[in-house]
Amino acid sequence: MTSIADEAPKPIGIESHRDYTPLAPLLSRYPRQAGPLFHAYHHLVHSAAWTDVAPVDIRGDDESDPAPVNSGSGWGALIGMRPQGTQPELLLPCHVTDNLSVAYFQAVFSSLETQAKSRDGLQTGHILLAILSPDSTVVYYKLAKGLVKPVN
C-alpha cells in the first residue's frame, strides 16, 4: 500500500516558510541575529499564541555598536502582546553563545524609551530576552532595569 508519506520530499527552510515574509527586511539587516529572530517569531506566533507580533529595528541614532565582534547580537526585536497581557512588550532574540554587555542592554533600554513614544502602552520597565539553543528551543528571560522584588 503506497501511503501518502512515501511522496518525494520538498525543500523546506527559513526562506520558504510562511513566517519569512514579515521578517525578511530584519533578517537581511542583522544576519547574525537571523536564527534567533526567526525562531522566536515562529514560536510566539504559532505556539505561544502571542497577538500582534511585529518585527522592529531598535537601533539608536548614534552609529556606535557596543556589542562585541564575536557576539551574535543585533538590533532586531519583536514587539507583541502575550495571551493574558494588557500591554505590548519588547522581545530581544539572541543566541545562547552570545556575549552581551551591560552597555548593550543600556542602549536597548534607552532605545526602548524612544520606541514607547511612537507605540502606545509599550512596557518600558522590562524587556524579554529570547535565547535560542542549537536544537531550536527558545528560553525566555525577563530583564528589568534595576532591582525588582519578585512577585509571582
Partner: protein, 496 residues
C-alpha cells in the same frame, strides 16, 4: 506520614478531549505500546544474513538475534557490517538551513490538510506523518519539533483544539489538555493562597508568603507583619527560632481545597448529530507550520557517523559530507562570513563545534539519549532510554582543557564559557539549578590536543576531513573525554 485530612486527594476532574473516544490505552498496555514504538535505539538495522538473503529484518526472537550474531563472529567484515543499506532502508532526507546550520525534516506530507477520521492513535500518526520524521524520533529520539517541547505534535494539538470548539458548539463539555492544566494551576494557586492565609492566622507563617504567591494582604495581616518585625528586632541578640523549624507543622483545621464540582447536566447527542459531528471533525483543515529540527550535532552524527541522513540544499542537491563538515566547523560564525575563513583556521582542535560534538558523540556511542540542556543551564541532558521514559538523571557541561597553554593564547575562537581557571563560585552557580531538580552535574572535560604535537605526528591536516577526524579519534591521538560528576553535599542533612 502526613496527618489525616491534611492532603486529601481531590475528586477526579473533567477528562481532556484527546484523540477519539475509546482509545485511552492506559497502564500495562500503554507501556507495552511505548516499548514497541521506541524499540530501536538508533535508526539502523542489524542485517541478518541467514538463508543467504541480505534483507534487513528486525530480529524478533532471541534465536534470531543469536543467529544474526554468530555469522558475524566467524565471517568476514563485508557480510557482517551493520550498516548495509537495502531498498527498505532508503536514506532519510532533510534540508539544511544555512542560518542555523540545522537540518529541517518535513513532519506532515505537504498536501495533507484534512484531519481525517479519528482513529486509533498509532494509525493516525503513521498516516499523517512522513517516514523520516517518524523514524528519526522513534529510533533514538533525534530532533525536536520546532513548535513542540519534544515530539512534533503541533498539528495534532491544533486539530484537537478545533474538535473541542466543534464539540462545545453542540453543548458538549470538552476541554483541551492545555486548558485543563491551566485551570488546575489556577486552582492550586488559590488553594496555596488560602492555606497561607490560614497559616498566618494560626501564627505559623509570615504574611510575606501570601504576597509572594500573588495574593493581597488584608489590614489584619499587615498588623501581624508589623508585630512580628518588632518581635524579631527585640530578639536580635538571642538565638531566635529558625523559621524552617515551623515550616511543615500540621496546622489544625487546614483542609485541602479541591476543584469545584460542575453542576451542569450534559445533554446526550442523537445518532444523527453524532454522525454530523464526526464528519465535521474529519474535515478540519490545518496546514502544518511545524517541522522536525535536527541540531548541528545530530546532523553530523546521523549523516557522518551513521550514514542514514541525506542532507540536501534548498535547491534539492545532496551536500557531500566533507562540505557539510566544513560548514559545521564554521557554525559559530554568522552566515555572510562563514566562507571567508580558510579551513586551516577552522580545523583547529579547539573549534567550539568540535568540542561539543565530541561530547555528544561520546555519550551517544555509550548508549545514552542526548538532548539539549538549555532548560537546565547545561549543555546536554542524558536520558537512559529517552525523554518519554523518564527524566534525565545527568546534566552535562562541556569543559575544555588545553594540552598546550600556547594554543589557548593563539586561539581565534571566542572564549569558551567554561574554559580557563574556575573557582568554587562557578561550581556553585553551575550546580544551583541541578540541585533543585535533583540531577547530577557532569563536567565533561575534553582534552584538546596540542597543535605542535599533531603536526609532529603528521596529523596537522587530520581535522580538515571527517574521515581524518574519525581515524584520529579511533587512534586516540586527538581529543579525549573525562567526566567528573558533582552533587551538592550538605553535612547536616546527609548523615548516614
Amino acid at each position: 506520614m502526613p496527618p489525616r485530612g491534611r492532603h486529601r486527594r481531590p475528586p477526579p476532574g473533567p477528562k481532556p478531549a484527546g484523540g477519539a473516544g475509546g482509545n485511552d490505552i492506559t497502564g500495562k498496555r500503554a507501556s507495552q505500546a511505548k516499548n514497541q514504538r521506541y524499540a530501536r535505539p538508533l535508526p539502523v538495522d542489524v542485517v541478518t544474513p541467514i538463508h543467504g538473503k541480505q534483507k534487513a529484518k528486525q530480529p524478533t526472537s532471541w534465536a534470531q538475534w543469536f543467529a544474526a550474531w554468530l555469522p558475524g563472529l566467524t565471517s568476514d567484515a563485508a557480510t557482517s557490517s551493520a550498516h548495509v543499506k537495502d531498498e527498505q532502508d532508503d536514506l532519510l532526507v532533510g534540508y539544511l538551513d544555512p542560518t542555523t546550520l540545522s537540518v529541517w525534516v518535513q513532519v506532515t506530507p505537504p498536501h495533507l490538510l484534512k484531519a481525517g477520521p479519528a482513529s486509533l492513535e498509532s494509525q493516525a500518526r503513521i498516516a499523517s506523518q512522513t517516514r523520516a520524521a517518524r523514524i528519526l524520533w522513534d529510533a533514538g529520539f533525534f530532533g525536536k519539533g520546532s513548535l513542540s517541547r519534544s515530539e512534533p505534535t503541533w498539528r495534532a494539538r491544533k486539530i484537537n483544539e478545533e474538535r473541542v470548539k466543534l464539540q462545545r458548539e453542540r453543548g458538549m463539555k470538552a476541554y483541551t489538555p492545555e486548558e485543563l492544566i491551566a485551570a488546575r494551576r489556577k486552582e492550586r494557586l488559590h488553594a496555596k493562597i488560602e492555606r497561607a492565609r490560614l497559616a498566618v492566622k494560626a501564627g505559623q507563617q509570615l504574611p510575606d508568603g501570601i504576597v509572594a504567591l500573588g495574593g493581597t494582604l488584608s489590614v489584619e495581616e499587615e498588623k501581624i507583619l508589623a508585630a512580628k518585625a518588632e518581635k524579631e528586632m527585640q530578639e536580635e541578640g538571642d538565638d531566635g527560632k529558625e523559621v524552617e523549624e515551623e515550616y511543615g507543622k500540621h496546622i489544625p483545621g487546614l483542609i485541602y481545597l479541591g476543584p469545584k464540582k460542575d453542576d451542569e447536566v450534559q445533554r446526550d447527542l442523537t445518532p444523527q448529530e453524532k454522525k454530523r459531528l464526526e464528519e465535521e471533525e474529519a474535515n478540519i483543515e490545518v496546514e502544518d507550520m511545524e517541522y522536525l529540527h535536527l541540531s548541528p550535532y545530530e546532523v553530523f552524527f546521523l549523516a557522518g557517523m551513521l550514514g542514514v541522513l541525506d542532507v540536501r540544499t534548498q535547491q534539492d542537491d545532496s551536500i557531500s559530507l566533507s562540505s557539510l563538515y566544513l560548514q559545521l566547523l564554521a557554525s559559530h560564525l554568522p552566515l555572510p562570513i562563514r566562507t571567508l575563513n580558510p579551513s586551516s583556521t577552522l580545523a583547529r582542535p579547539d573549534n567550539p563545534y568540535l568540542l561539543s560534538y565530541i561530547v555528544y558523540h561520546h555519550y551517544r556511542s555509550l548508549g545514552w539519549s542526548v538532548k539539549s540542556g538549555i532548560k537546565f543551564c547545561a549543555d546536554f541532558l542524558l536520558y537512559k532510554r529517552g525523554p518519554v521514559f523518564g527524566h534525565a538523571e545527568f546534566a552535562v557541561v562541556v569543559v575544555p582543557v588545553y594540552e598546550d597553554k600556547e594554543d589557548e593564547a593563539s586561539s581565534p575562537f571566542p572564549r569558551h564559557p567554561a574554559g580557563g581557571d574556575r573557582d568554587w563560585v562557578w561550581f556553585s552557580t553551575m550546580n544551583r539549578v541541578q540541585t533543585q531538580v535533583l540531577k547530577t552535574l557532569v563536567l565533561a572535560h575534553v582534552t584538546i590536543p596540542s597543535v605542535k604535537r599533531l603536526e609532529k605526528e603528521g596529523m596537522g591536516e587530520a581535522l580538515c576531513t571527517p574521515e581524518g577526524l574519525v581515524q584520529g579519534l579511533k587512534d586516540g591521538k586527538l581529543h579525549s573525554v573525562t567526566e567528573v560528576s558533582l552533587r551538592r553535599w550538605v553535612p547536616a542533612r546527609m548523615r548516614g
